[in-house]
Chain length 333, copies 2
């Protein structure tokens, strides 16, 4: 094979904010598959907030990426060669080891994708890990009841957009929080949320309160920071918070103070964090349910595709600042 | 009846810390029972942290005491006269409207006590509302598994002392937190906790970490403040926190910042507040179970009895500062 393998490595662990300096692009020869492996040509890389955690050495639910290793991430790839015979050249698969142009991966870990059933990129977003995260978070963790007020932050994003649509189907009144007029318009008009509030507005806490005249029963937390602060006093008796992520704080050197927890007692609140990988059965469940809704036109999504693997670091850092509009994906050219 | 009715009223709502100035003692004639009521002579008044919340106008799970009304609280009383004929003079009962020498109360709301079954004061503490709170908090909210590390604050207090003993019976390794050498000795030697750590020690966070070498799986929160801060980083993956109260913060004018909640995601924590009154069936359940353990000598408790209703305000304020040693009760002389 004459092409080189562009790979993005973790150059150093960030202390405080991650920058482009913490990544390193290298060109190598494509790998050779070992027994049981196929050679993949990556087409799309998923960029997700959890990757910021993998750059740190801090104790977490998953081991960090080692300094000098290729950055971790899911990819939609085409099989270049498969000595095991399981896949044909050109087959579409979902795999890992995303931040590179080629990889050799055990065929046992690859999921075959049918490009006629749904666009292959949906395996990284609406029907993939982010969509499954929303499915678990809403149906198993937050569990809104009909008529309850359900608020979700990063509402135009990969997880929030799906979470709100699922909550809506469960009969909740759904209020999104997003950054800017265009995202809010999309959330209301395209996704069908009841309301969407712009967290960049100077009077955001008042706007949120006005959008939730009966308070907040369920909050699906994706961002932390100022949005969490505004949500906190609006939580109702027996309110629930599903903690999915706090992306607005991932670049802070020191954790910011959180809300006082006395109202957890006073209002008998339930706060629960979750990680989608702890719910392995949900992936196929959601692929089936969400896939049906998608074919029926009952599930909307938006992708934000950046072209060129060399731009992955800047696209990732921009996503941490909320610059993406929909599920951020890198097209590997 | 020649005796007067000493009553302690809420004189004004505290802004910030409550002081003796917020209470007012008055002497009135004893009330006359209306139809369906009995006249009670109060013998013991329960002092509990929740009363601080009732002094405030802030929105909570229960309505505040009105300014000028008698302070709310449970009392163990003897029936002085019962025109309904349900009780005999001298019968012991558990009733409300505690901060006074006499009251007239509907007989339907009174619980008869058997002074031969257990000391009557236990109806205010170990077998009463605080004990039931511990029962609900440990068996329904926190639910420690055998071998897990269970930490409880205010460990020598009315709720904490029972919570730790129940968790111990459920097979947990129980670590108490209490203020001072004597309380810690009592918690270890009398209550049988595995460890007790003095939160007044200068190196308290280090001592707590040393007492929990495998981290903290379950925290039963009674105090908030510095203890909560020290517990927070020690919580394990899938850790649970049962929020029963945050008494160390009840006298603050403004709520102090809380812990950053990012680790709720990272560690898949579950935080849950609860109020014992939401679990009405638990009261008789615990009276039966805890009463049996008490008779078997398998449940230990300590009462801190202050003599004289006129001293109730100072005894209450002292309790908020942690000056009590065991369940604080006022003997009404």
């Amino acid at each position: 094979m004459n092409e080189t393998n562009l790979r993005i490595l973790l150059r150093a662990r960030p202390e405080g904010a991650a920058t482009a300096e913490h990544f390193q692009a290298v060109e190598e020869a494509p790998p050779s598959p070992r027994p049981g492996e196929a050679l993949l040509r990556h087409r799309f890389l998923s960029l997700d907030p959890y990757m910021r955690g993998r750059m740190s050495g801090a104790k977490s639910y998953a081991a960090p990426v080692a300094v000098g290793d290729v950055m971790e991430g899911q990819s939609v790839a085409q099989v270049a060669e498969d000595p095991t015979g399981r896949f044909k050249p050109g087959d579409w698969v979902l795999g890992g080891k995303g931040w590179q142009r080629f990889s050799a991966q055990p065929v046992s870990g690859l999921v075959k994708l049918d490009p006629d059933a749904a666009p292959v990129t949906t395996a990284l977003g609406v029907l993939g890990m982010p969509g499954t995260t929303a499915w678990v978070g809403v149906t198993e963790i937050a569990v809104p009841k009909p008529g309850e007020t359900f608020v979700v932050s990063a509402a135009s994003g990969a997880v929030g957009s799906v979470a709100g649509q699922i909550a809506k189907r469960m009969g909740a009144r759904v209020v999104g929080v997003a950054g800017g007029f265009e995202k809010c318009r999309f959330v209301r008009d395209e996704l069908g949320f009841d309301e969407c509030v712009d967290h960049r507005a100077a009077d955001f806490p008042d706007l949120l309160a006005a959008a939730c005249p009966r308070g907040i029963d369920v909050y699906f937390e994706n961002v932390g920071g100022a949005v969490q602060k505004a949500v906190w006093p609006l939580l109702n008796q027996f309110g629930r918070v599903a903690f999915c992520g706090m992306v607005a704080e991932y670049q802070n050197a020191e954790p910011a103070p959180g809300p006082n927890l006395a109202q957890v007692v006073r209002k008998s609140l339930r706060l629960r964090g979750f990680i989608v990988s702890q719910h392995p059965a949900a992936f196929t469940e959601w692929r089936s349910t969400g896939g049906r809704w998608l074919r029926e036109g009952a599930l909307r999504y938006r992708e934000d595709v950046v072209k060129g693997l060399d731009r992955a670091p800047e696209a990732f850092l921009g996503m941490l600042r909320g610059e993406n509009f929909g599920k951020r994906i890198v097209e590997i050219t």
